[in-house]
Amino acid sequence: MSQLLDVRDLQTQFFTRDGVATAVDGVSFTLNRGEILGLVGESGSGKSVTGFSILGLVDPPGRVTGGQILFDGDDLVRGGEPLLRGLRGKRIAMIFQDPMMTLNPVLRIDTQMIETVQAHAPVSRAEARARAEEALVRVGISSPAERLKSYPHQFSGGMRQRVAIAIALLHKPDLIIADEPTTALDVTIQAQILSEVQALCSQSGTALIWITHDLAVVSGLADRLAVMYAGRIIEEGPTAEVIARPRHPYTRGLIDSVPQGKRHGARLAQIPGMTPSLLNLPEGCKFAPRCPRADAACAVEPRLDPSGPGRAVRCHHPHGDSETRVLS
């Protein structure tokens, strides 16, 4: 499989009144065509900002301040607006967390879909409408011609998210960035949408970056996982590997805090402490203050080093493969 996206040393900062917050700091990862990457981390770890940085949608006071984002060979950071405008919605699409907020409340669904078609394809309104209907059918919405004439408030949350996904799929993009698209939905709808998106992406060979704070959601979906903490990737690798043998104490903490059937009744482990403020990060390893394994060595920030095939971890004292995970 050929490489589609290569993010190198990405840095995105917010210049706020209280100081400079480096929301994304030295993030690097690659993504092949058709591959699904799960981007996991606690709230505030920089997942959304990473996604917005790729699309060039970071709003002031924020700005991408360093690194490269190579998409099919073109550097999106260098290319800037002109390059990005041509890619957004056409080759890179995005789906947002809250389906109640992503569709414009005062515009009909057809307006919002047709404009998307016409933004990138020189087709007539009728042709654009036909494509919109097709897209709605693809995400499982029946009688699309009628549905197109509705306003967003006439749909349920799950239906709206389907519409948003249909919009994202309109131009059969190479990459979809999905920012917690199921978090706001019921569990049953969540599962439906997950499997639908998975199916649609494998049909069309679309690569997917699935952003979530919920490990359980991505573990069945993603080919690879990247775990973020305080704007950095702290562990990366094939999903099954990372879940079975987490190397970073933080990843391990995350996995232990996911409720599992077989541990029914057992107390859930929690990661002690709180996410540090970006304006006041500790020296050295950012996780050290909350880490059970921290020692003097952690006063120096570890690098993201390879640790086995396809895996990398940013830790001075990673867990080894031989250590079994402590259950209970």
Partner: protein, 325 residues
């Protein structure tokens, strides 16, 4: 929609009735018009005769009953001063005021919305800050003072525009309008600008605040993520959302434009209803005052009704819930 309309019309009629009572009682307490109208040397008999002729000897509720009965037939009384139907006198002046108010409203919208949206899109830029600074001036300087300043600069110092009066008018559909000839237009510009400044500042601030709020919404980011041009994002996705509060304000403000026109018309000697009202208050010409107030109420209530309809057309969410309700 029909049910909704009928209900709103009913509410409007109630409002007009309530206003009629208030206006009538209010005017009753201003003073006795006979004192002003009558020759100071008149005898007691003359005074009584005049009072009787004007119907002022009857008890208040009876006067109100007569007024209401006549009003329903379109008769708002006869001016004590001009001896002609009060409504006719006012209607003669109405076109001048309406033209002034509409032109001023047009100016405040056509200039206010683009400036406000611009300032909202770039709140930190120099242009954005300048626009906001200017709007604070327009907001806080007294209207009559702005008017006199305009006269001083453009009429007296520069001599570009006349200082007062209405100038030549043209008849269109039976109405006298100024804006079709240069002479008329030149008389219209200064008072219209004067009347517009305050509303323009209001609209700028409103449009800016709403633009800033709408810009933060996910649907704007989503629109950009779809690859739409910035033009389309602003002109369709943002503008359509900020139009909802702006239209409401415009509607409410057109009514108050007519009211505000009193000051502007007085400063610029514009022969409209506002100037007539001031003159009538000085002369205690009760029927004209009452007729003016009633007509103004009707205009404002009518505009509000219209705004509600436009509002429901703009915002699909309202349309639905109101139709259900």
């Amino acid at each position: 929609m029909i049910v909704y309309l009928v209900r709103r019309v009913g509410q409007s009629l109630l409002a007009v009735m309530a206003m009629a009572v208030l206006v009538f009682i209010g005017v009753y307490f201003i003073g006795n018009p006979v004192d002003v109208l009558i020759n100071p040397e008149a005898t007691q008999a003359d005074i009584l005769a005049t009072t009787e002729r004007l119907g002022l000897d009857k008890p208040l509720w009876q006067q109100f009953g007569i007024f209401l009965g006549n009003a329903l037939q379109g008769d708002l009384g006869t001016s004590f001063v001009y001896g002609r139907p009060a409504l006719d006198i006012i209607l003669e002046r109405l076109p001048a005021t309406m033209e002034l108010a509409l032109v001023a409203l047009f100016l405040s919208v056509a200039i206010g919305i683009p400036l406000g949206v611009w300032a909202g899109l770039r709140p930190e830029s120099i242009a954005g800050r300048t626009i906001m600074g200017g709007s604070i001036l327009g907001f806080s300087l007294p209207n009559f003072w702005q008017g006199m300043l305009l006269i001083l600069v453009f009429a007296v110092l520069l001599g570009w525009l006349p200082a007062g009066g209405r100038g030549a008018t043209t008849e269109v559909l039976g109405l006298q309008v100024s804006f079709l000839t240069w002479d008329g237009l030149s008389h219209l510009i200064l008072p219209a600008v004067n009347l517009a400044l305050f509303k323009m500042s209001l609209i700028i601030r409103l449009a800016r605040a709403n633009t800033r709020e709408v810009c933060l919404q996910d649907y704007v980011k989503f629109a950009r993520a779809k690859g739409l041009s910035p033009r389309r994002v602003v002109l369709v996705h943002i503008l359509k959302n900020i139009m909802i509060p702006v239209v409401t304000i415009i509607g409410l403000e057109l009514g108050s434009m007519v009211a505000f026109a009193i000051v502007t018309e007085t400063v610029f000697a514009w022969p409209g209803m506002g100037k007539l009202l001031i003159d009538s208050i000085n002369l205690l010409d009760r029927p004209v005052i009452v007729a003016y107030l009633m007509l103004t109420v009707l205009i404002i209530v009518g505009i509000n009704l219209l705004v509600d309809v436009i509002y429901s057309l703009l915002d699909p969410r309202i349309r639905l819930s109101e139709m259900k309700g």
